[in-house]
Amino acid sequence: MADPTVRDVPAVTLARCPPRGRINLRGNCWDPAFLAGVASAIGTEPPPAANTSRPAGRGVILWLGPDEWLVEVAAAAETAIAVALEDALAGLHASVVAVGDGLVTLSLSGPRSVDVLAKGMTLDVEPDRFPAGCCARSLLAKAPVLLYRPGDDLLYEVTVARSLSAYASRWLEDAALEYLQPA
Protein backbone atom coordinates (compact mmCIF):
# COMPACT_ATOMS: atom_id res chain seq x y z
CA MET A 1 0.00 0.00 0.00
CA ALA A 2 0.97 3.58 -0.49
CA ASP A 3 2.45 5.56 2.34
CA PRO A 4 -0.57 6.73 4.38
CA THR A 5 0.97 10.14 4.97
CA VAL A 6 1.02 10.68 1.22
CA ARG A 7 -2.70 10.04 1.12
CA ASP A 8 -3.33 12.44 3.99
CA VAL A 9 -1.57 15.37 2.35
CA PRO A 10 -2.52 15.69 -1.31
CA ALA A 11 0.39 16.75 -3.49
CA VAL A 12 -1.59 19.77 -4.51
CA THR A 13 -5.00 21.18 -3.65
CA LEU A 14 -6.83 23.77 -5.70
CA ALA A 15 -9.71 25.72 -4.17
CA ARG A 16 -11.80 28.74 -5.06
CA CYS A 17 -11.75 31.25 -2.19
CA PRO A 18 -15.01 32.84 -0.96
CA PRO A 19 -15.75 36.34 -2.30
CA ARG A 20 -13.64 39.15 -0.86
CA GLY A 21 -13.85 42.88 -0.73
CA ARG A 22 -11.11 44.51 -2.77
CA ILE A 23 -10.25 48.11 -3.42
CA ASN A 24 -7.88 49.35 -6.08
CA LEU A 25 -5.97 52.28 -4.61
CA ARG A 26 -3.87 54.77 -6.56
CA GLY A 27 -1.87 57.59 -5.06
CA ASN A 28 1.50 59.17 -4.53
CA CYS A 29 3.44 57.29 -1.86
CA TRP A 30 5.94 60.14 -1.53
CA ASP A 31 3.13 62.36 -0.29
CA PRO A 32 2.93 62.16 3.55
CA ALA A 33 -0.71 63.25 3.41
CA PHE A 34 -1.57 60.30 1.19
CA LEU A 35 0.26 57.86 3.49
CA ALA A 36 -1.45 59.29 6.53
CA GLY A 37 -4.84 59.25 4.85
CA VAL A 38 -4.50 55.59 3.93
CA ALA A 39 -3.26 54.73 7.42
CA SER A 40 -6.23 56.48 9.00
CA ALA A 41 -8.66 54.47 6.89
CA ILE A 42 -7.14 51.00 6.94
CA GLY A 43 -4.68 51.11 9.82
CA THR A 44 -1.47 50.94 7.85
CA GLU A 45 0.44 52.92 5.28
CA PRO A 46 0.71 51.33 1.83
CA PRO A 47 3.93 49.33 1.44
CA PRO A 48 6.39 51.27 -0.71
CA ALA A 49 8.57 48.30 -1.64
CA ALA A 50 7.85 46.41 -4.83
CA ASN A 51 6.13 43.05 -4.53
CA THR A 52 5.50 43.34 -0.79
CA SER A 53 2.35 43.44 1.34
CA ARG A 54 1.30 44.61 4.78
CA PRO A 55 -1.45 43.42 7.08
CA ALA A 56 -4.21 46.03 7.24
CA GLY A 57 -6.69 45.44 10.01
CA ARG A 58 -8.26 42.08 9.23
CA GLY A 59 -7.18 42.42 5.65
CA VAL A 60 -4.02 43.08 3.74
CA ILE A 61 -2.70 45.71 1.36
CA LEU A 62 -0.70 44.41 -1.61
CA TRP A 63 1.74 46.36 -3.78
CA LEU A 64 0.69 46.38 -7.43
CA GLY A 65 2.85 49.17 -8.76
CA PRO A 66 4.73 52.24 -7.56
CA ASP A 67 1.45 54.16 -7.26
CA GLU A 68 -1.02 51.31 -7.08
CA TRP A 69 -2.15 48.91 -4.36
CA LEU A 70 -4.88 46.39 -3.75
CA VAL A 71 -6.63 46.47 -0.38
CA GLU A 72 -8.23 43.14 0.51
CA VAL A 73 -10.92 43.13 3.16
CA ALA A 74 -13.98 41.11 4.11
CA ALA A 75 -16.61 41.22 1.36
CA ALA A 76 -19.12 42.93 3.65
CA ALA A 77 -16.62 45.66 4.56
CA GLU A 78 -15.75 46.68 1.00
CA THR A 79 -18.13 49.59 0.62
CA ALA A 80 -17.46 51.02 4.08
CA ILE A 81 -13.71 50.89 3.66
CA ALA A 82 -13.88 52.34 0.17
CA VAL A 83 -15.89 55.23 1.54
CA ALA A 84 -13.48 55.64 4.44
CA LEU A 85 -10.55 55.77 2.01
CA GLU A 86 -12.31 58.25 -0.25
CA ASP A 87 -13.08 60.48 2.70
CA ALA A 88 -9.56 60.25 4.08
CA LEU A 89 -8.04 61.04 0.70
CA ALA A 90 -10.45 63.80 -0.28
CA GLY A 91 -8.62 66.65 -1.96
CA LEU A 92 -5.54 64.56 -2.70
CA HIS A 93 -4.59 63.15 -6.05
CA ALA A 94 -5.74 59.61 -5.37
CA SER A 95 -8.17 57.08 -6.73
CA VAL A 96 -10.30 54.55 -4.89
CA VAL A 97 -12.21 51.96 -6.94
CA ALA A 98 -14.02 48.95 -5.51
CA VAL A 99 -13.11 45.92 -7.61
CA GLY A 100 -14.07 42.98 -5.40
CA ASP A 101 -16.71 41.66 -7.77
CA GLY A 102 -14.36 41.68 -10.69
CA LEU A 103 -11.75 39.37 -9.20
CA VAL A 104 -11.68 35.75 -8.11
CA THR A 105 -9.01 34.21 -5.90
CA LEU A 106 -7.92 30.61 -6.32
CA SER A 107 -5.70 29.01 -3.73
CA LEU A 108 -3.10 26.43 -4.53
CA SER A 109 -1.48 24.51 -1.72
CA GLY A 110 0.49 21.37 -1.03
CA PRO A 111 4.05 20.18 -1.59
CA ARG A 112 3.78 20.30 -5.38
CA SER A 113 2.07 23.69 -5.63
CA VAL A 114 5.33 25.29 -6.72
CA ASP A 115 5.70 22.80 -9.55
CA VAL A 116 2.16 23.43 -10.72
CA LEU A 117 2.66 27.21 -10.73
CA ALA A 118 6.00 26.90 -12.51
CA LYS A 119 4.24 25.27 -15.45
CA GLY A 120 2.31 28.46 -16.12
CA MET A 121 4.51 31.21 -14.74
CA THR A 122 7.91 32.56 -15.64
CA LEU A 123 8.17 34.10 -12.17
CA ASP A 124 10.58 32.38 -9.82
CA VAL A 125 8.07 31.17 -7.23
CA GLU A 126 10.22 28.79 -5.20
CA PRO A 127 9.63 29.37 -1.49
CA ASP A 128 12.93 31.13 -0.75
CA ARG A 129 12.60 33.35 -3.82
CA PHE A 130 8.98 34.21 -3.22
CA PRO A 131 8.80 34.44 0.57
CA ALA A 132 5.78 34.90 2.81
CA GLY A 133 4.02 38.19 2.11
CA CYS A 134 5.41 38.44 -1.40
CA CYS A 135 3.03 39.42 -4.20
CA ALA A 136 3.47 40.02 -7.91
CA ARG A 137 1.40 40.53 -10.99
CA SER A 138 2.42 38.28 -13.86
CA LEU A 139 0.94 35.79 -16.30
CA LEU A 140 -0.38 32.32 -15.54
CA ALA A 141 -0.38 30.65 -18.93
CA LYS A 142 -2.28 33.30 -20.91
CA ALA A 143 -4.15 34.91 -18.03
CA PRO A 144 -2.94 38.01 -16.19
CA VAL A 145 -2.83 37.16 -12.48
CA LEU A 146 -1.83 38.53 -9.12
CA LEU A 147 0.17 35.95 -7.17
CA TYR A 148 0.36 36.28 -3.39
CA ARG A 149 1.87 34.05 -0.75
CA PRO A 150 0.13 34.88 2.54
CA GLY A 151 2.33 32.88 4.91
CA ASP A 152 5.16 30.43 5.34
CA ASP A 153 3.04 27.50 4.20
CA LEU A 154 3.25 26.29 0.64
CA LEU A 155 0.03 28.12 -0.14
CA TYR A 156 -0.26 30.54 -3.00
CA GLU A 157 -3.21 32.73 -3.91
CA VAL A 158 -3.84 33.32 -7.58
CA THR A 159 -6.15 36.27 -8.15
CA VAL A 160 -7.57 36.54 -11.62
CA ALA A 161 -10.26 38.50 -13.46
CA ARG A 162 -13.69 36.98 -12.85
CA SER A 163 -14.19 36.20 -16.54
CA LEU A 164 -10.91 34.31 -16.68
CA SER A 165 -11.38 32.33 -13.48
CA ALA A 166 -12.82 29.28 -15.22
CA TYR A 167 -9.91 29.20 -17.63
CA ALA A 168 -7.33 29.65 -14.87
CA SER A 169 -8.95 27.04 -12.72
CA ARG A 170 -9.14 24.46 -15.53
CA TRP A 171 -5.58 25.21 -16.47
CA LEU A 172 -4.31 24.66 -12.92
CA GLU A 173 -6.31 21.45 -12.57
CA ASP A 174 -4.80 20.13 -15.75
CA ALA A 175 -1.30 21.13 -14.66
CA ALA A 176 -1.76 19.42 -11.29
CA LEU A 177 -3.00 16.18 -12.80
CA GLU A 178 0.36 14.44 -12.95
CA TYR A 179 0.88 14.88 -9.19
CA LEU A 180 -2.48 13.40 -8.28
CA GLN A 181 -2.45 9.63 -8.35
CA PRO A 182 -5.39 8.22 -10.28
CA ALA A 183 -7.91 6.57 -7.98
Partner: protein
Protein backbone atom coordinates in the same frame (compact mmCIF):
# COMPACT_ATOMS: atom_id res chain seq x y z
CA UNK B 1 13.32 35.31 -24.57
CA UNK B 2 14.88 38.37 -23.02
CA UNK B 3 15.29 38.95 -19.32
CA UNK B 4 14.39 42.56 -18.65
CA UNK B 5 15.02 44.52 -15.48
CA UNK B 6 11.93 46.52 -14.69
CA UNK B 7 13.13 49.59 -12.75
CA UNK B 8 10.43 48.82 -10.17
CA UNK B 9 10.05 45.04 -10.06
CA UNK B 10 13.49 43.75 -11.01
CA UNK B 11 14.27 41.02 -13.50
CA UNK B 12 11.27 39.55 -15.26
CA UNK B 13 10.71 37.49 -18.36
CA UNK B 14 10.11 39.27 -21.66
CA UNK B 15 6.60 37.78 -21.85
CA UNK B 16 5.47 40.24 -19.15
CA UNK B 17 6.49 43.25 -21.23
CA UNK B 18 5.37 45.15 -24.30
CA UNK B 19 7.85 46.98 -26.50
CA UNK B 20 6.75 50.48 -27.45
CA UNK B 21 9.45 51.26 -29.99
CA UNK B 22 11.95 54.08 -30.02
CA UNK B 23 12.13 56.20 -26.87
CA UNK B 24 12.55 59.95 -26.45
CA UNK B 25 10.28 60.99 -29.30
CA UNK B 26 8.34 63.88 -27.91
CA UNK B 27 4.93 64.84 -29.24
CA UNK B 28 5.30 68.28 -30.83
CA UNK B 29 3.73 70.84 -28.48
CA UNK B 30 2.07 72.68 -31.38
CA UNK B 31 1.24 70.20 -34.15
CA UNK B 32 -0.33 72.93 -36.28
CA UNK B 33 3.03 74.64 -36.56
CA UNK B 34 4.47 71.64 -38.37
CA UNK B 35 4.46 71.15 -42.12
CA UNK B 36 3.06 67.90 -43.48
CA UNK B 37 6.56 66.42 -43.95
CA UNK B 38 7.58 67.46 -40.42
CA UNK B 39 4.45 65.92 -38.97
CA UNK B 40 4.99 62.73 -41.00
CA UNK B 41 8.52 62.59 -39.65
CA UNK B 42 7.22 62.65 -36.07
CA UNK B 43 4.47 60.19 -36.89
CA UNK B 44 6.22 57.58 -38.97
CA UNK B 45 9.97 57.91 -39.05
CA UNK B 46 12.00 55.94 -36.51
CA UNK B 47 15.67 55.12 -36.31
CA UNK B 48 16.61 51.50 -36.79
CA UNK B 49 20.19 51.31 -35.64
CA UNK B 50 22.47 48.32 -35.68
CA UNK B 51 23.84 48.65 -32.18
CA UNK B 52 22.67 50.60 -29.17
CA UNK B 53 19.05 51.60 -29.28
CA UNK B 54 16.88 53.37 -26.73
CA UNK B 55 13.39 51.98 -26.58
CA UNK B 56 10.48 52.29 -24.28
CA UNK B 57 8.93 49.22 -22.81
CA UNK B 58 5.92 48.69 -20.57
CA UNK B 59 5.78 46.15 -17.79
CA UNK B 60 2.27 45.33 -18.95
CA UNK B 61 1.77 42.15 -16.96
CA UNK B 62 3.55 43.44 -13.89
CA UNK B 63 3.51 46.90 -12.35
CA UNK B 64 2.13 48.46 -15.53
CA UNK B 65 4.84 51.13 -15.69
CA UNK B 66 6.46 52.42 -18.86
CA UNK B 67 10.22 52.81 -18.73
CA UNK B 68 13.21 53.08 -21.02
CA UNK B 69 15.55 50.33 -22.11
CA UNK B 70 18.83 50.77 -23.86
CA UNK B 71 19.31 47.61 -25.87
CA UNK B 72 21.89 46.44 -28.34
CA UNK B 73 19.94 45.39 -31.41
CA UNK B 74 22.57 42.94 -32.56
CA UNK B 75 23.33 41.10 -29.34
CA UNK B 76 20.14 41.90 -27.40
CA UNK B 77 22.35 42.95 -24.50
CA UNK B 78 20.48 45.35 -22.27
CA UNK B 79 22.89 48.12 -21.45
CA UNK B 80 20.68 50.07 -19.08
CA UNK B 81 17.12 50.61 -17.94
CA UNK B 82 15.83 53.90 -16.57
CA UNK B 83 12.53 55.37 -15.55
CA UNK B 84 10.41 57.78 -17.53
CA UNK B 85 11.79 61.27 -17.26
CA UNK B 86 15.28 60.02 -16.51
CA UNK B 87 18.25 59.81 -18.85
CA UNK B 88 20.37 56.74 -19.42
CA UNK B 89 23.15 56.15 -16.89
CA UNK B 90 25.80 56.08 -19.61
CA UNK B 91 25.27 58.57 -22.37
CA UNK B 92 27.70 56.96 -24.80
CA UNK B 93 26.32 55.59 -28.00
CA UNK B 94 29.27 53.55 -29.17
CA UNK B 95 29.32 49.82 -29.59
CA UNK B 96 29.72 48.22 -26.16
CA UNK B 97 31.81 45.33 -27.41
Amino acid sequence: MLLISCPWCGQRDESEFTCGGEAHIQRPPDPDALSDPEWADYLFMRTNPKGRHRERWCHTHGCGRWFNVERHTLTHDIISVYRMGEGPADDGDGDPS
